[in-house]
């Protein structure tokens, strides 16, 4: 079956056969593909962990006739999208893209596109997944992916660093990157005097002028830029070096305004220790290879779930919390924990053409285990989601579930109720058992000592 998201680039397509992912390369791209392999660029990028590895496979695996090559790329287990990344993750992906472009220029090739969607996080490191992004460069012509790089990486990073971390979510609305005029308009005026001047502010102005000139009757057409001979190998490297400096110049200062708050524990040391032990026991019993930690905060319990042979995606709705989590992960911990920005009350939708280019959160599930600690009361009371509906989404998130019930008397629930009318008559442990009993079978149940909370290990009922 051909991947419905694989249609923009005519030089190849992605397909699945018997569940395995393959990529077909069309004859129009075969010279570029051969150069990519023969010039040693493919091998170098794969060896250095910058590009996903691939193996050649027989041509007759392709569903359509005429493919010049068919390869089987190593499949990344956890697919995530740029609008789900923390600032530092997007920044690392940007620097990866520039480094790949630099190496490609070294052998007379370049990236045909610079889409942030071509990058995934694999065991804690950004990696390019589109092996078909390379073509033989024409050093006298401009880099065709320059604008795309600025829209996919520079604009969102600049907005996150200089305006608000939540601006990263704009990528959800603008699937081909944030329009440069929008970014330039939203950025503070002071950014006109720094590293963002050339590639963002002047860039936005140049685009505006070009658009005006292209309206028939208003002015003459600009000269065909493809034919300009304004570039050279050195100029390409200079442009790339400047882009790298611009990206590296974008930082979130520790303790700056981006760190809006930190959440504090309401547990006594005894309760924390008890919860830790119970969660550890339930996770061991739950088994599985992929865990979704829903409402992970800075990942206190993600660490418990992670380990050899087990990957954790740690979701939190607050981009600053996800940023903190990512920064605080040690390199070896990053191999098994991927923090992502996700608001469970409005999770990532299916996006793009026919809703098939980017998958929704639930389409990427279910995980083997869903971990929902200190979450249900936020959904049920903080967001008015009835308990049966909470159970429904959690059943679509994980085959097994480790879930915490926090009763009405708990200080955290009292805090949620402090400013509003208590209309949650169903919110009780009996209501919780009834709602979740429709979807799950309880395998284990344990009260957290020195607290009013209860932890459950559940397995979802067959649909």
């Amino acid at each position: 079956m051909i991947d419905p998201a694989s249609f923009r680039d005519p030089s190849g397509y992605v397909f699945r056969r018997d569940g395995i992912l393959y990529r077909a390369i069309q004859p129009m791209a075969s010279a570029d593909w051969t150069a990519f392999e023969e010039r040693g660029l493919a091998g170098e990028l794969i060896n250095d962990g910058l590009l996903v590895s691939h193996a050649p496979v027989p041509l007759d695996l392709a569903p359509l006739p005429g493919a010049a090559f068919v390869i089987q790329p190593l499949e990344i287990a956890l697919i995530s999208y740029p609008y789900e990344w923390a600032f530092s993750q997007l920044r690392e992906a940007a620097l990866l893209t520039l480094e790949v472009q630099r190496r490609a220029l070294g052998v007379g090739m370049w990236l045909r596109d610079a889409s942030a969607y071509n990058v995934q996080f694999d065991r804690g490191r950004p990696i390019l997944i589109d092996s078909l992004s390379f073509e033989v460069a024409d050093p006298s012509a401009p880099w065709p992916a320059y604008r795309q790089f600025c829209k996919h990486f520079l604009a969102p990073l600049a907005l996150m660093a200089h305006r608000d971390l939540r601006c990263g979510l704009l990528l959800r609305d603008f699937i081909d990157g944030i329009p440069l005029d929008l970014a330039a308009g939203l950025l503070p005026g002071r950014t006109r005097f720094g590293g963002l001047l050339p590639h963002l502010h002047l860039h936005a102005g140049a685009e505006r002028r070009a658009q005006k000139m292209q309206i028939p009757g208003v002015a003459t057409e600009p000269s065909a830029p493809r034919r300009t001979r304004a570039m050279s190998a050195t100029r390409h490297l200079a442009l790339l070096d400047s882009l790298r400096r611009s990206v590296e110049g974008l930082r979130l200062e520790p303790g700056g305004h981006w760190l809006s708050y930190t959440r504090h524990s309401s547990y006594s040391p005894q309760a924390a220790e008890s919860k830790h032990q119970i969660v550890e026991r339930m996770l061991a019993a739950a088994g599985g290879q992929v865990v979704w930690d829903l409402g992970a905060n800075v990942g206190t319990y993600s660490d418990l779930a992670a380990g050899p042979g087990r990957q954790v995606i740690a979701f939190d709705q607050d981009p600053s919390v996800v940023e903190l989590h990512w920064r605080n992960l040690a390199p070896d911990a990053r191999e098994s924990v991927l923090p992502l920005v996700m608001d469970l009350t409005n999770p990532s939708p299916a996006l793009g053409w026919a809703h098939q280019e980017r998958r929704s959160l639930l389409e990427r599930g279910p995980a083997d285990v869903a971990l929902a600690l200190a979450l249900v009361h936020h959904l049920a009371i903080g967001n008015n989601v009835p308990l049966p509906r909470v159970a429904d989404v959690l059943a679509r998130s994980g085959r097994r579930l480790v879930v915490e019930f926090v009763p009405r008397e708990d200080p955290m629930v009292q805090h949620l109720l402090a400013s509003r009318r208590d209309i949650f008559t169903e919110y009780s442990i009996d209501g919780f058992r009834a709602a979740f009993g429709e979807r799950f079978v309880t395998l284990d149940e344990a009260p957290v000592s020195d607290s009013l909370r209860t932890l459950f290990l559940m397995e979802r009922r067959p649909a």
Binding site: D9, R226, S265, Y267
Partner: protein
Amino acid sequence: MPPIGYIDPGSGSLLLQALLAAILSLPFVFRRTIGGFWHRLRGERVDEPAPSKVRSSDRSNPGHS
């Protein structure tokens, strides 16, 4: 064979790129040649330092609510 790019590079963007690259190549070449030679004479690194890793003091450890 000309490149077979499939994305629209944008005409304004291409013109700006050519202009910027011409300007940027002057300091770029300077840093790589004369500037690099000068730094090496002084025993300094030629490249600017890589962005600093997050220091342990940046870490905070808030718990679950």
